[in-house]
Every structure is written in structure tokens, then in C-alpha cells.
């Protein structure tokens, strides 16, 4: 319990420093990436599945499914978004200029 709380405090401080430095340009990917991380609760659901009686299994299974949807969907959406951020190669831009 104390280890957990200490861990939370340390990560809050380190996390604040790293996250605050993400530029506004990338705020949407940051948000959706962190959204994917919030599905980490799936590991809590796995713990329940391993320990709890069969009677609660449907609920824990639902939690696993929801958490996995969050994790996989979140990371893939972020991947799609980030792939769009690019700087075109020089030649490509000049071509674009000639076309017009």
C-alpha cells in the first residue's frame, strides 16, 4: 500500500514534467495516447479473473473486454493520427509548386 502510494506520487511529479513539455501541436495524439493508457485497468481485471470465484467472472470478463478495447483502439487511433504529422520532402513540395 505504501509502495503504491509512493509510486503514484513519484510518477505524478515525473509525469507532470514530461507531459507539460508536449507542444500543443501534439495535444490530440497526447490525449488519445494517454486515453489508451487508461485502459491499463485491464491488468486489474485480470487480477480479479485470477482470484475471484466464477460467479463474478462475467463482470471481470466484461472489464477485460472493455479495457482491451480502450487500449488497442486508443493506440491504433493515435498511430493513425501521428502518421499524418509529417514534413514533405523538398522535391515533393517543389513539384506541388510547379503544378499550380
Amino acid at each position: 500500500m505504501f509502495v503504491d502510494i509512493a509510486f503514484v506520487v513519484v510518477l505524478t511529479i515525473i509525469g507532470y514534467r514530461i507531459i507539460a513539455a508536449v507542444p500543443p501541436l501534439l495535444h490530440t495524439p497526447l490525449m488519445s495516447g494517454m486515453n489508451a493508457l487508461s485502459g491499463v485497468t485491464v491488468i486489474g481485471a485480470l487480477l480479479i479473473l485470477g482470484l475471484a470465484p466464477r460467479s463474478v467472472e462475467p463482470w471481470a470478463a466484461l472489464a477485460v473486454i472493455m479495457g482491451m478495447t480502450n487500449v488497442v483502439g486508443g493506440f491504433l487511433v493515435t498511430e493513425r493520427m501521428l502518421r499524418m504529422f509529417r514534413i514533405r520532402q523538398r522535391p515533393a513540395r517543389e513539384q506541388g509548386g510547379e503544378r499550380t
Binding site: 500500500m1 503504491d4 505524478t12 495516447g33 485502459g39 486489474g44 473486454i65 488497442v72 509548386g97
Partner: protein, 494 residues
């Protein structure tokens, strides 16, 4: 125990490095992939630790969830991204609530710390779930995007929260008798809190509630991790919570309101503003013209000073509205050598980002300098404009943040506004007693000329009329940007 701490710390470092890589657009893709890899390791470690690696049914559940997530994420169109992120977020919150609700059944967890964290995780996860669902439905347009306020809304939310808190306290103090019996009441109360909290937030306040719900899902996971004594879950949840809070704070600064005030619904001053719009607009135009704070470009000031008296300026705006000579507009564009484009939510609605890209290419092809000014709260989620324009294929080095671009407007020939109102409203700097008073805005009026491609000349979400439309150096081209922008491009090409 100590090897578990070591492994959890190692995986956490993976997450932190991943976020660190998100600081630059060049490395961001790898940051996200490292985050995903760390998540895979975290899940495999959790399976291993609990001896579940060979349980086929558990793999089945995981594959099912992963499949649903993958299909949704790969199919969604970029324009629907905000609601998709909102929905995923709600699922994470719901999963945390379920974990908190079933944790007591393991028989291994007890003690006051467990009970209290469990009820908190249940409450936070439930609010995240229902709040995100409402936010996603609003963004999807299945519920009106405007704020919905019922009578006694504030009181209702307060009563629900007190009732929920009472149920939580009862469950935590006497868990053996009450934890499961009062759970339906707790869940119901917080489902309603989530619904009523989110439903009265609308329009331009959406980025704030989206980031806030994102933060809540992280806090729910963190508290859940404390309840089930899993440091990795607690730590990663805390990271998400912090990220959401940072974004929420930035968005609040972007509209100059506190989170508390945003959660309290739309600014009541907005309504009275809209009602008394016309006469006030006139006085604001006057105030804007007289204000020493506003440093207008010399030409702009000359235009203002030679223009009609402030009282007549509103009418002048009406005249400009009726028939903006297309030739005049295109001349402005042709003669400008430096152009700043300001996109707003209207661009997202009209799906005009591809037309904006075409315009940028066209202007650059003619040797003009083009930049894109992005206001922090333009759109419906943090960084919304950047994503849409990146989707259209614009290079990210053209996007300039508000603080960096504001000093440049005075040296700019032309500003083209595409579907933005409140974020370029000069009244924010001059008019008092308005919802947008003190809100940081883009100082577009300082440019030599301004073209506004908006749907109409009505006030934006704040309800505050925009005196910019009446300025002499501002030309309005009203209509759907998806039509007006390509029209402009066609004329420019010929």
C-alpha cells in the same frame, strides 16, 4: 515482491520514455509504439504473475476486446475522432468501475484502505463512463452539441453527489453489511452525475470536458490500482490523470474560465450579451478603435479613422455582408505577400481542411509566405485543428501557436479566417462584462486586411458579437466554407 517492483518500474520507464518521445512530431510515432509495447509487457506480466498465461478463455476475452478496439479505430473517419476517443475513454472508466465492484469478491482484499479506495474507484469510473458516453453522443450529433440545462441543474447535481457520497461512505464504513447492497444506489447516483455534468457543457467548452474526462479515467484507474494493490496500475493511472489535468488546465486558460465555472454550464452572461448584441457591438467597435491596447497596423487604423462613426459601423457590416465583391476579395489575396490562415471549428464542420491545404499550396506556388495560426481551444478537442490539417497533408512546421503568431499579425498583409469567431474576437481584449473578457485571442485585426469565410455573421459559442466583422479592413464572405473556399481557389487559379 521486490522483483515485481523492479519489473513494474521497468515497464513504467517504458511508458515515460514513450511520452517523452511525444514531445517532438518526428519521434512521436515511436513514442506511441513504445507505449503500446510497454502495455503489452504490462499485460503479459500481469497474466504471468497470476498464473493465467495458459487460461484460454482469458485470451479469448482479450482478443475479443482487442478486435473490437482495432475495428473501431481503423474504421473511424478522422472527423469523428473526438467522439471515438471519448468513447474509448468511457470504456476504460467503466472497466475500472467493474474492477472496483468485483475486487471484494477475491476474498483477499479487505481493510479500510481497500474499502475506501474501492468505493472511490467505483464512483470515479462510473462518472467517467456515463460522462464520456454523453460527450461522445454530443460530438456525434446524436444529442445536440449545445448545452442542455434543466431547471435546478446545479442543485440536482449537488444532491446526486451528496447521495452518492453517502452511499459510498456507508459502503466503506460497514462493508460487510452494506458494500454490495448499496452498490446499485452508488452506481445510479454517479451515472446520473456523469450525465448531468456533461450534458450542460456544449460547443466550444467541449475540449475542456473531453480532457477532464480523460483525466478522470486516469484517476479512476490509479485509485483502482491502490485498491487492488497493483503499483503498475496505480502509477500508470496517475500518469493519465496528470496528463488530463494539464490539458484541462491549458484549455481553461485558453478560454479564461475556471474548470469549476465550465462544469457549471455556459456562462450566463452570454445570453444577455446576445440579446443586447447590436447596440453593444457598436460601443465595442468604438472601444476597440479607441483602445490604446490595440495596436492596429497603420493602414487599418487609417481605415478605421476614416470610416463612418462607430454607431453606423454595424450597418456598414451589414452592407459588407450582402454582396462581398468576389473580385475585391481575390485582389486582396493576389496582392498579399504574407498570409496567415486562422482555422476554427467551422472548418472542421465544413470539412474544409482539404480546401485549406489547396489554398496554401496555391498561395505558396505564387511565392507568398503562408502560416497557419492555431488557437489552443479552436475545435472540439485539444489540438483538433492540427490533426485535421495534418490529415489534409499540410506540413506541421506551418502551424504556429497563438503566443508565437500574435506579434506577427501587425506585419502581415492578409489574414484568412476559416470558420472561427470567438478565438479572433477583438472584444475579448476590450469589452468588459462579457463571457470572453480576458480570453486570449488571435490578434487578427492588426493585419492589413482580413477575409472572413464564416457560415454567418452571428456570434460564436460565447454569444458575444464579433466587432471585427464591422471593421473597415475586414471583408466577410458568408456561406459554407466547403463552398466558398473552393470558389475562391477557382477564381484565384483563373
Amino acid at each position: 515482491m521486490s522483483y515485481q517492483i523492479a519489473i513494474a518500474s521497468l515497464i513504467t520507464v517504458g511508458f515515460l520514455v514513450g511520452i517523452r518521445l511525444l514531445q517532438s512530431p518526428r519521434t512521436a510515432v515511436w513514442g506511441n509504439r513504445l507505449g503500446a509495447l510497454s502495455m503489452v509487457l504490462a499485460i503479459i506480466f500481469a497474466l504471468y504473475e497470476r498464473g493465467l498465461l495458459s487460461e484460454q478463455r482469458i485470451w479469448l476475452y482479450m482478443v475479443a476486446g482487442a478486435g473490437v478496439g482495432a475495428v473501431l479505430a481503423l474504421r473511424v473517419r478522422m472527423v469523428n475522432m473526438p467522439q471515438m476517443v471519448g468513447m474509448f475513454n468511457g470504456l476504460g472508466g467503466g472497466a475500472s468501475a467493474l474492477v472496483a465492484a468485483t475486487a471484494a469478491q477475491t476474498g483477499e482484499l479487505s481493510g479500510w484502505f481497500f474499502w475506501w479506495t474501492a468505493v472511490f474507484a467505483l464512483a470515479l469510473g462510473t462518472v467517467t463512463f456515463s460522462g464520456s458516453a454523453v460527450a461522445a453522443l454530443k460530438l456525434q450529433g446524436m444529442i445536440t452539441g449545445r448545452a442542455i440545462v434543466v431547471r435546478g441543474h446545479g442543485t440536482l447535481v449537488a444532491v446526486l453527489m451528496i447521495a452518492g457520497a453517502a452511499a459510498m461512505a456507508g459502503a466503506a464504513v460497514a462493508p460487510d453489511q452494506l458494500f454490495y447492497p448499496v452498490m446499485p444506489a452508488t452506481v445510479l447516483a454517479f451515472v446520473l452525475v456523469g450525465i448531468y455534468m456533461t450534458i450542460r457543457i456544449g460547443g466550444a467548452d467541449m475540449p475542456i470536458v473531453i480532457s477532464f474526462l480523460n483525466s478522470l479515467s486516469g484517476v479512476a484507474a490509479a485509485v483502482c490500482g491502490l485498491a487492488v494493490n497493483d503499483m503498475l496500475l496505480a502509477g500508470v493511472g496517475a500518469l493519465v490523470g496528470v496528463a488530463g489535468l494539464i490539458l484541462t488546465q491549458l484549455m481553461c486558460v485558453g478560454i479564461n474560465r475556471s474548470l469549476f465555472s465550465v462544469l457549471g454550464g455556459p456562462d450566463p452572461r452570454g445570453k444577455t450579451m446576445a440579446a443586447t448584441a447590436q447596440p453593444q457591438a457598436a460601443s465595442w467597435i468604438e472601444a476597440a478603435a479607441d483602445s490604446s491596447e490595440v495596436e492596429l497596423a497603420p493602414e487599418a487604423r487609417a481605415l478605421l479613422e476614416s470610416g463612418p462613426a462607430a454607431g453606423e459601423m454595424v450597418e456598414a457590416a451589414d452592407v459588407a455582408v450582402e454582396e462581398p465583391e468576389p473580385k475585391e476579395v481575390t485582389d486582396l489575396v493576389r496582392e498579399a505577400s504574407s498570409v496567415i490562415i486562422v482555422p476554427g471549428y467551422g472548418m472542421a464542420v465544413a470539412q474544409a481542411q482539404h480546401a485549406v491545404r489547396e489554398l496554401v499550396d496555391l498561395l505558396e506556388g505564387k511565392g507568398k509566405e503562408v502560416k497557419i495560426a492555431v488557437h489552443p481551444v479552436a475545435g472540439r478537442m485539444p489540438g483538433h485543428m492540427n490533426v485535421l490539417l495534418a490529415e489534409a497533408g499540410l506540413d506541421y512546421d506551418k502551424f504556429v501557436d497563438m503566443d508565437d503568431i500574435n506579434p506577427e499579425f501587425a506585419n502581415t498583409d492578409l489574414v484568412i479566417i476559416v470558420g472561427a469567431c470567438d478565438v479572433v474576437n477583438p472584444a475579448a481584449r476590450t469589452a468588459e462584462q462579457t463571457p470572453i473578457q480576458g480570453m486570449p485571442v488571435l490578434h487578427v485585426e492588426e493585419a492589413r486586411s482580413v477575409i472572413v469565410l464564416n457560415l454567418d455573421d452571428r456570434p460564436g459559442y460565447s454569444g458575444v458579437p464579433n466587432p471585427l466583422y464591422g471593421y473597415g479592413h475586414c471583408t466577410l464572405v458568408l456561406g459554407n466554407a466547403a463552398d466558398t473556399l473552393p470558389g475562391l481557389i477557382e477564381i484565384l487559379k483563373s
